[in-house]
């Protein structure tokens, strides 16, 4: 699976567009960490294609190890189901809810016409009940489309660093 959707023109950090993308990604992270899941869901286009591939350990000549098989394989309906599930009182993996912190860094923005690719490193920490931290790290590759003076996410690839997920489960959202 190729990481990069488009090879667009770099958008430099001192530009207005870069600033708007960065602010968008930071606000998205804040929505997740403050349990505003419906507002988060509203950031995605109706035809959102959201994938988290399984990563395998491979030699360098065989690529990065991302496979055509997912840890998550979501569309709008299934993301909505995940959010609706969290709103029930019975989603035990998140009831009581995990406390998460989504750290977003190393943001690279490229533009190709109307389409914007935003690549960012993520570190998601999670603690729940009286338990220690769990951590998920990797890179997110998003395709953003204009939506008024903001954006919507039309495609997301969540590229994990781990081949063995050590965070109990993937009940938190990325």
């Amino acid at each position: 699976m190729s990481q990069l959707e488009t090879a667009g023109t770099p958008v430099l950090p001192n530009t207005e567009l870069y600033g708007r993308v960065l602010e968008f990604l930071h606000r998205e992270a804040e929505l997740l960490d403050t349990y505003k899941f419906d507002a988060w869901l509203a950031l995605f286009t109706e035809d959102i294609d959201y994938q988290m591939p399984v990563r395998t350990t491979r030699f360098l000549t065989d690529g990065e190890g991302f496979e055509d098989f997912g840890l998550m394989a979501e569309n709008h309906a299934s993301l909505t189901t995940r959010v609706r599930r969290l709103e029930t009182e019975f989603a035990w993996a998140e009831v009581p809810p995990s406390r998460t912190r989504h750290f977003i860094s190393n943001v690279i923005v490229e533009q190709d016409g109307d389409s914007i690719e935003a690549r960012a490193c993520f570190m998601v920490t999670r603690t729940r009940q009286d338990l220690d931290y769990q951590m998920y790290t990797g890179q997110r590759v998003d395709r953003l489309v204009p939506d008024g003076d903001s954006f919507k996410i039309a495609r997301r690839r969540i590229l994990a660093d781990q081949t063995v997920i050590t965070g109990t489960n993937l009940s938190v959202l990325f």
Binding site: T56, R58, S78, R85, T88, F90, T166, N169, S171
Partner: protein
């Protein structure tokens, strides 16, 4: 004088006998066996050192040289198809200093070359070259004796490869016994299955036996997965998964066939599409076909830690229900930490559209992110934490449901069958085999 072989001690260091703290016939299982390091050490030797373990499927290594790296028990192996097409499972460890030989999850290799000092092995395990051979004296390096270490026995059924480190274990066919008849229904129903993609792998802070216990437990579904009832994705009926049978075919293997609520025709033909169901006639006996036709769900366990789940589910609130076949395995790392493996299998003849639906339904509901499976891991972890303390371990867990349940008289398959898929008969048979393995010499005596 030759020493008389003695059966392994069944007493733990504090004097408790395993037979006293695990009493399957009474449905009483000590909490202690789930977290005690002493019990865990004995399990590594008497269960993981002696039983048969799933390693991988034929379809994961289709070409000569293809390999995957996996555990057999808990020891790492490389499952590899050699240049002649013969499949081997070798300890993934160099004969020189024990360096890991195959160092990726999957690969294709004619030779396996050790990074440490450069010994290199053919893909049939033979040692081909050792570095600096000219520095070895006469008789110091006998290459014929230094091939990669194979598992003691390797066997396959319906493309599923199993290995054991125990040369005295009964052959795989004999060990699977009556379970093969049921494996035909799941793995042979349409002429063959293949694994889609690599396994999902994740680690859970649980005793491995809680995950195992869960796979033959149908009555947790309504409570554990109640969020799905709320969303309308599961029937609002606590008994909905009770319609069916549980079967004890012997040797600790266990299974369930569930019909689903009466009157719902989705829960027939294992939930497969009609073009696939049409093949039952060709590959199944009339008795096997009648079971496949009449049931929607099946959960099976090959003793001790390999499972299947043939399930029907919707991937989201808007989707139609699809059948999928999930293969699972638990590998213990410590008494209270377990590596989970999960594969998706699909019928070889399934159409691309069907495969896509099956894939999406599976990933959204099962595996580490699955909206069903997530909550199971929460249960296994909390069970583990709450059973570890000195107070808890003095008490037993309750496995009494169906102690007096009469057996089914009209079940067309082998083994002991019980009507009703809610009950702890299968769990008790699993713990009976556990006890037999932990106390019975070669670890492969027959359980109840």
């Amino acid at each position: 004088m030759t020493a008389t072989p003695t059966a392994p001690s069944t007493r733990l260091r504090n004097g408790d006998a395993l037979e006293e703290i695990v009493r399957p016939q009474e449905g009483l299982i000590s909490r202690r066996i789930f977290t005690d390091p002493e019990v865990f050490e004995l399990e590594l030797e008497r269960i993981f050192g002696k039983g048969w373990f799933f390693i991988g499927h034929d379809s994961e290594i289709p070409e000569p040289g293809d390999l995957v790296t996996r555990p057999c028990g808990i020891d790492p192996v490389v499952l590899i198809r050699d240049d002649e097409g013969v499949v081997h499972a070798f300890l993934n460890s160099c004969r020189h200093r024990g360096m890991r030989i195959a160092r990726t999850d999957r690969d294709n290799a004619t030779f396996l070359k050790c990074p440490y000092h450069g010994w290199s092995y053919k893909n049939n395990g033979e040692l081909l070259n050792a570095a600096c051979e000219n520095h070895y004296g006469e008789g110091e390096l006998v290459k014929e004796e230094l091939g990669l270490i194979p598992v003691a026995q390797l066997g396959s059924y319906h493309g599923l490869w199993f290995g054991t480190w125990n040369e005295h274990a009964p052959p795989l066919d004999e060990w699977l016994g009556d379970m093969r008849w049921y494996m035909d229904i799941i793995f042979g129903r349409t002429g063959g299955l293949e694994i889609m993609g690599p396994p999902q792998i994740w680690e859970v802070d649980t005793a491995w036996k809680f995950a195992t216990d869960n796979f033959t437990d149908n009555f947790h579904v309504f409570s554990s997965h109640h969020s799905l009832v709320e969303l309308g994705m599961l029937p609002n009926n606590p008994d909905f998964a009770a319609y069916g049978h549980m079967i004890v075919p012997g040797n600790g293997h266990i299974l369930h066939f569930v019909q689903g609520e009466p009157g719902n025709d989705d829960y027939r033909g294992l939930g497969l599409s009609h073009d696939l169901r049409a093949k039952f006639d060709e590959f199944l006996t009339p008795e096997q076909k009648s079971i496949a036709d009449d049931h929607g769900y099946s959960a099976g366990t090959i003793w001790p830690n390999f499972h299947w789940l043939q399930l029907i589910s919707a991937g989201d609130m808007e989707a139609h229900e699809e059948a999928f076949l999930n293969l699972r395995m638990e590998t213990p790392i410590t008494p209270t930490r377990t590596r989970m493996w999960s594969w998706l299998a699909v019928d070889k003849d399934a159409t691309p559209e069907y495969r896509k639906k099956v894939y999406e339904t599976y990933v959204r509901t099962f595996g580490p992110s699955g909206i069903f499976d997530q909550d199971d891991m929460e249960n296994w972890e909390d069970c583990t934490r709450a059973n570890i303390g000195p107070a808890a371990r003095r008490y037993t867990l309750h496995h009494k449901m169906g102690l007096k349940r009469a057996t089914a008289t009209d079940w067309p398959g082998p083994g002991v069958a019980y009507p009703d898929s809610y009950g702890e008969m299968t769990q008790r048979s699993w713990y009976a085999q556990w006890l037999t393995s932990m106390t019975g010499g070669n670890g492969n005596g027959r359980g109840a």
